[in-house]
């Protein structure tokens, strides 16, 4: 029985499945983004370039590892590992193959919020440890950005929990299944606010301020090369999957079987849809400036998020 559980954690629906899915979604995102822009996107590796993210990952692993002399060596080593493993570990709390996640406890939603905060903290440390001007500016911008989107995000993510009377993601998915409803139908405002905040969390256009290419090179990632950069990219892919899984679970019903379609397939379809929305959105906008972003978040998003909480409270009937 223990073997089966270990297998679950390592292969399906655990680490291996998550990594494969993360690479697949990077391909989906790159392909769709390219098609929107009138480009082809990945084309050569595998059918329609589907293996390109894997090939990139392997290529980066084989590249020279450059460590700046002025950097904080220990942190510089630890940060990429943390960045890749944290979203992977958090993904275990997402219901993927069944409405019940591998690790589910009452309060894992709070843990996920904490993990998002930690991701930004790791980014900050990454920029800080590399002792480069561009990285420092990037990490400061990243931290500033977190200050503005974390509170609205925290507020709206509580709403499904209030409705389902459960602080567990699995619990919320099961509540949606039991009541044959979707979070998106009950809380459309919440869904919209979540999507905007998560765009900022993922540092996608219009919130790609911490890694604005034309301003600060690659931002906090500037000094990382070789396997470190590979791990950062993997971590980013996993984070995209995590974010998509969160939206799918809280608002789209998550991993619950529909008629003959198994839960995993439903999960893949829903998360892919969320990833595609992200790709579309990032093709549509220009990058905002950090002050415009922060004031926008506090002036508009926060009141809307608060409104959603009030509406949910009224709906539940205090």
């Amino acid at each position: 029985m223990v073997t089966y559980e270990v297998l679950q954690l390592i292969v399906f629906p655990g680490a291996l499945f998550a990594i494969c899915l993360a690479f697949l979604y990077e391909w989906v995102d790159r392909k769709l983004f390219a098609r929107v822009q009138g480009r082809y996107g990945p084309l050569y590796t595998g059918p329609a370039g589907i293996m390109q993210p894997v090939a990139d990952f392997l290529k980066l692993l084989s590249k020279e590892d450059i460590v700046p002399r002025a950097c904080d060596a220990n942190l510089f080593f630890a940060v990429p590992v943390m960045y890749a493993t944290l979203p992977l570990a958090t993904l275990f709390m997402m219901p993927i193959a069944a409405p019940e996640a591998l690790i589910a406890f009452d309060g894992d939603l709070i843990f996920i919020l904490f993990a998002f905060g930690m991701m930004t903290l790791i980014i900050f440390l990454a920029g800080w440890s590399s002792a480069s001007r561009f990285s420092a500016i990037g990490s400061v911008r990243s931290a500033l950005q977190m200050l503005s989107y974390e509170i609205p995000l925290g507020l709206v993510l509580v709403c499904p929990a209030i409705a389902a009377k459960s602080l567990s993601v699995s619990g919320i998915v099961q509540w949606q299944a039991a009541n044959a409803t979707l979070g998106a139908a009950l809380q459309p405002i919440g869904l919209a606010v979540t999507m905007v905040c998560l765009l900022a969390e993922l540092e996608l256009v219009p919130f790609d301020i911490p890694e604005a290419e034309t301003e600060i090179v690659a931002g906090w990632r500037t000094e990382f090369t070789g396997w470190r950069l590979a791990l950062f990219r993997l971590g980013r892919d996993l984070e995209v999957l995590l974010v998509a899984a969160l939206v799918a679970s809280l608002y789209l019903g998550g991993a619950q079987p529909l008629w003959l379609i198994p839960a995993t397939a439903m999960f893949v379809v829903k998360t892919a849809a969320v990833v595609m929305v992200f790709s579309f959105v990032r093709a549509l906008f220009a990058r905002l400036r950090i002050d415009q972003m922060i004031s926008g978040m506090w002036k508009y998003l926060l009141p809307i998020a608060a409104l959603q909480v009030v509406l949910v409270q009224i709906g539940v009937g205090v």
Binding site: V205, P206, E215, F285, L288, R289, Q292
Partner: protein, 382 residues
């Protein structure tokens, strides 16, 4: 906070926002730029000296290579100066072909710029669109002249190749397509809220400053001053072309964008008009080998602004002195004015806003006490 609290931040010569090496030293007070010192001259190529060492015919190929994007403008300016020195009159058909080429170049340069400015603002989709559509113009260049980037169409005494009626139809066809695309850009830049947020009231250059600091081209017209060499001092066939000089009162990066997009519409109109009324006859006359002694200043409205060439001949087959003033050099003082009092995050978009072509403008480096330091002296024709 006093003066001592400022931080000096170098920008360039290697920086992702700069496509060419140039250095700006910014003085920052927090996130605000309080001072900027440009240091130019990194790509000094000795073109003026090379021009003085080559015959008039060879010099044409050098003039062609001053700038990759304004190649027609520079050869127009060069041929105009040398033809005046030699005292030859270009056939009218050649004038029309030069006009068409100049306007095609403006189209491709402006669409390239729209893409770049969108890229600086993080709007990569518009960047990809603009550069994709620009391919149509580059293919047209290839059909007309055989070269996508360097065209070698202008020659002393006329042009090297004719535009046949079939080719003219092809150009009209491409203009049809391109007009639709330009209208699309116009709609996007006017309505896209994030793009407006990044460009409105960014990089403000007051009309008085623009005039005082000798800004040229769309940078000047974006500050509401209607000055255009094509209208003020018509050359080639511009005196026969109906077109509007576009200007905008916004004085910011958005106004400069708007001016360029509207200019693209005007260029399409000029090309159509010139194609319809192209005079028949020869398109080239023979140019003599030597030019009689004399001096001449030639001005051309390049896509980036006024391009000025000066030639002095001593009666031989080579110019005694040749001087090039590319438009970007004239815009540097205005650029430094725009860069003061802004956010650091706006630096790239303002820099891109003047459509800089640093490699074209670097004419000389003054060596003083063993240390190289670029100066603006070349403007005064040292």
């Amino acid at each position: 906070m006093g003066y001592a609290s400022t931080v000096k931040m170098p920008f360039g010569p290697q920086h992702p926002a700069l496509k060419e090496p140039e250095h700006f030293l910014f003085e920052l007070d927090g996130d605000t730029v309080v001072g900027v010192t440009p240091r130019i001259g990194y790509v000094h190529r000795g073109i003026e000296k090379a021009l003085e060492l080559s015959t008039y015919g060879h010099g044409l190929y050098l003039a062609e290579r001053i700038c990759g994007i304004c190649t027609v403008a520079h050869t127009c300016c060069y041929t105009q100066a040398i033809e005046e020195l030699m005292g030859i009159e270009v056939p009218p058909r050649a004038k029309y072909i030069r006009t068409i080429m100049s306007e095609l170049e403006r189209l491709h340069s402006h669409s390239l710029w729209v893409g770049l400015v969108a890229h600086e603002a993080g709007f990569d989709t518009l960047f990809m669109y603009a550069w994709r559509d620009r391919e149509a113009i580059l293919s047209l260049f290839q059909e007309i002249t055989g070269g996508r980037v360097l065209h070698a169409i202008n020659t002393l005494g006329g042009v090297r190749r004719d535009i046949s009626p079939e080719l003219a139809d092809k150009i009209r066809c491409t203009m049809e397509y391109f007009e639709g695309r330009v209208k699309d850009y116009r709609r996007i830049i006017r309505t896209e809220p994030t793009f407006l947020k990044r460009t409105r009231d960014v990089g403000v250059l007051k009309p008085s400053d623009a005039a005082k600091l000798d800004a040229v081209g769309p940078t000047l017209r974006g500050s509401g001053i209607k000055e255009d060499v094509r209208r003020d001092d018509p050359y080639i066939a511009y005196d026969e072309m109906p077109f509007n000089v576009i200007s905008s009162d916004g004085c910011d990066v958005f106004a400069r964008t708007e001016v360029r997009v509207e200019e693209m519409m005007e260029s399409i109109g000029i090309i159509r008009y010139a194609l319809d009324r192209m005079p028949a006859g020869v398109f080239r006359v023979r140019a003599p080998r030597n030019a009689p002694a004399g001096e001449c200043v030639s001005r051309v409205e390049a896509p980036r602004g006024e391009d000025m060439h000066f030639a002095r001949s001593d009666g031989t087959a080579k110019p005694e002195r040749y001087k090039v003033r590319a438009p970007t050099l004239a815009n540097i003082p205005a650029l430094c004015r725009m860069l003061v009092g802004i956010h650091v995050a706006d630096i790239p978009i303002i820099l891109a806003g003047i459509d800089p072509c640093f490699s074209c403008m670097d004419r000389m480096v003054v060596v003083r006490g063993g240390r190289a330091s670029g100066t603006l002296q070349s403007k005064r024709d040292v």
